[in-house]
Symmetry: C2
Subunit: 325 residues, 2 copies
DNA sequence: TTGTAGGCGTTATCAC
DNA sequence: GTGATAACGCCTACAA
């Protein structure tokens, strides 16, 4: 219709500067009139690139993941890429099968969460030859690039904060560590930081749960029964912390007078509750943004390394000096 | 490698019953050994179907949308389809451009939120010839299938609940109605239900906000200053309601003794706060599931109609009899 | 039941 | 600067 070959149309669309201005405008006009849009499948088949990045998250609506996803989408869009999202529900098998699907779909790169996976998954990843990275974890030594906070260090800092307030008896409502190396790292970060000052969490002071408020309440109750009762409770995520704080109020436990409660991940609710909650704030949007840029850099063959994303303790009213007894 | 033609491999993969058992196992074995996966681009190019459904939501992490997305993904996976998610941030232009991108990507169907859109978007949708539907709204008359609750009716029921408790002076913290026909329908549902019993919200009793707790607090403060002070406040979403209830507590307003506060959308937090919040619970996962099945049915050429998704009032402690004055 | 071959809409490699 | 034309990997008549 424009009186040119398909090759020229392709040039107009992909490398407009390589074509004469006259043709360019003529072709663009026709494209406009026809409402023509390039066929992504044909393009992918021919160029062996889809312009899509796959990402597999345990869940899509959790505070930190949600922020990372938003940021990632924006960063990818800025470089003309699309994000294909999948959800593993903390199930390694599902994660693997979702990865297969995304690869079948021809994603140019893959963003995963965490760094521990089955041998089968590992070998699949090494076979497929597309770049991938681990997000929400950090390990400078890792052969595959990591983009995330150092979970253990974040939690150690939280322990330091509480120890400096005089706390010596600790409890922890950890997020389930099964299939979750970030949660395990956070728990270990607490343990190690305590060990450094000669402290430890007694067995009955360490409980594990998923991530809803009801679970936080229930587990907080359980820790309350421990003797001696801890003066500081560290929660593995935001919802568990919210549950613990709400249950403390319901049980008439004075926070932070009798007991300090802290969390991990800073969602709006943490600061809006009657007793705002001390927590670890991870720059999750940076995780998403940097992960996007890193995986695109890898695709373009640039050398990339692991990047640690900053996190900080946000001190609020839920943590305070140890009770004088 | 299996000593068969590519056509046979294709049959083994797509219509295994049409191939002899011997060949089937032989081919499958080789597929396994090779780690071969079908190339989705080639498949799409050849069959003119990508097996992907696009969905554009205002946001991905909001309670009701998040649940719908999860359910949709599962329902699509059960029928061998992939969900491509995009986010419009309540911006009609962005929604349109995301739709274009998804269509370029070759999605077989589209799930949209709401039913009002620009003429340009409308005409684009009618041109592209791929099935699409409106979710989270219901309109039996609509030419394009709808899958969602009847926002207006849900809110009317809430008004009826409050009226039956004796309330006559109402305030509303509506979700911004700009670019949001669901929010507008909810607001109108309130208005109409009130009008039916000869009541109305005074101008200073109706405020609009987005959807975070801080905003709920701020707007609640504003309504508190209204004279006469309303005895019942209806919030347009869950976060606004949470903010209102928290601010009421902070301001020393007895809920529901002095004032009833209700919300829309039932997230876990609503029932876990010190004063659990009366709200409208929409079966959002049904929205997602039914939307997925409906759009797939449309793709397969089956006749489909609009489907109303159930919603119900969940009465909790935040609503009670009007104060005796 | 299985193989042959054309075509899907681009991109990329050559010529010109 | 532009046009032919051969891939790209699969699906699907059609033929055997």
């Amino acid at each position: 219709m424009a009186g040119v070959s398909t090759a020229t149309v392709s040039r107009v669309v992909n490398r407009p500067e390589s074509v004469s201005e006259e043709l360019r405008t003529r072709v663009n006009l026709v494209i406009e009139q026809l409402g023509w849009v390039p066929n992504a499948a044909a393009r992918a088949l021919s160029s062996n690139r889809t312009g899509a990045i796959g990402a597999i998250f345990p869940a899509l609506a959790l505070g930190d993941f949600a922020r990372a996803i938003d940021a990632m989408q924006d960063a990818l869009a800025a470089r003309n890429h699309l994000l294909l999202l999948a959800r593993s529900q903390y199930d390694p098998d599902l994660e693997f099968s979702q990865a297969r699907k995304l690869v079948e779909r021809g994603v140019d790169g893959l963003v995963l969460v965490g760094s521990t996976r089955s041998a089968a998954f590992e070998s699949f990843l090494s076979r497929i030859e597309i770049p991938y990275l681990n997000s929400f974890v950090f390990d400078a030594e890792s052969p595959v690039p990591c983009v995330g906070p150092d979970n253990a260090v974040s939690m150690s800092e939280m322990v330091d904060h509480l120890v400096s307030l005089g706390h010596r008896r600790f409890g922890m409502i950890a997020q389930t560590t099964r299939n979750n190396d970030r949660a395990a790292a956070r728990r270990d970060g607490v343990r190690n930081a305590l060990a450094r000052v000669g402290l430890a969490i007694p067995p009955q002071g360490l409980v594990e749960g998923e991530w809803d408020i009801a679970e936080g309440r229930k587990l907080f109750r359980r820790i309350l029964d421990a003797t001696p009762r801890p003066t500081a409770i560290i929660c593995g995520n935001s919802m568990l912390a919210v549950g613990a704080v709400l249950e403390a109020a319901a049980a008439g436990v004075d926070v932070p007078g009798e007991m300090s409660i802290v969390g991990y991940d800073d969602i709006e609710l943490m600061s809006e509750l009657p007793i705002p909650i001390t927590t670890v704030r991870v720059a999750s949007d940076d995780v998403g943004r940097v992960a996007a840029d890193t995986v695109l850099d890898m695709i373009e063959g640039r050398a990339v390394g692991s990047q640690r994303i900053r996190s900080q303790i946000v001190v609020r009213a839920s943590s305070g000096p140890v009770p004088s007894d």
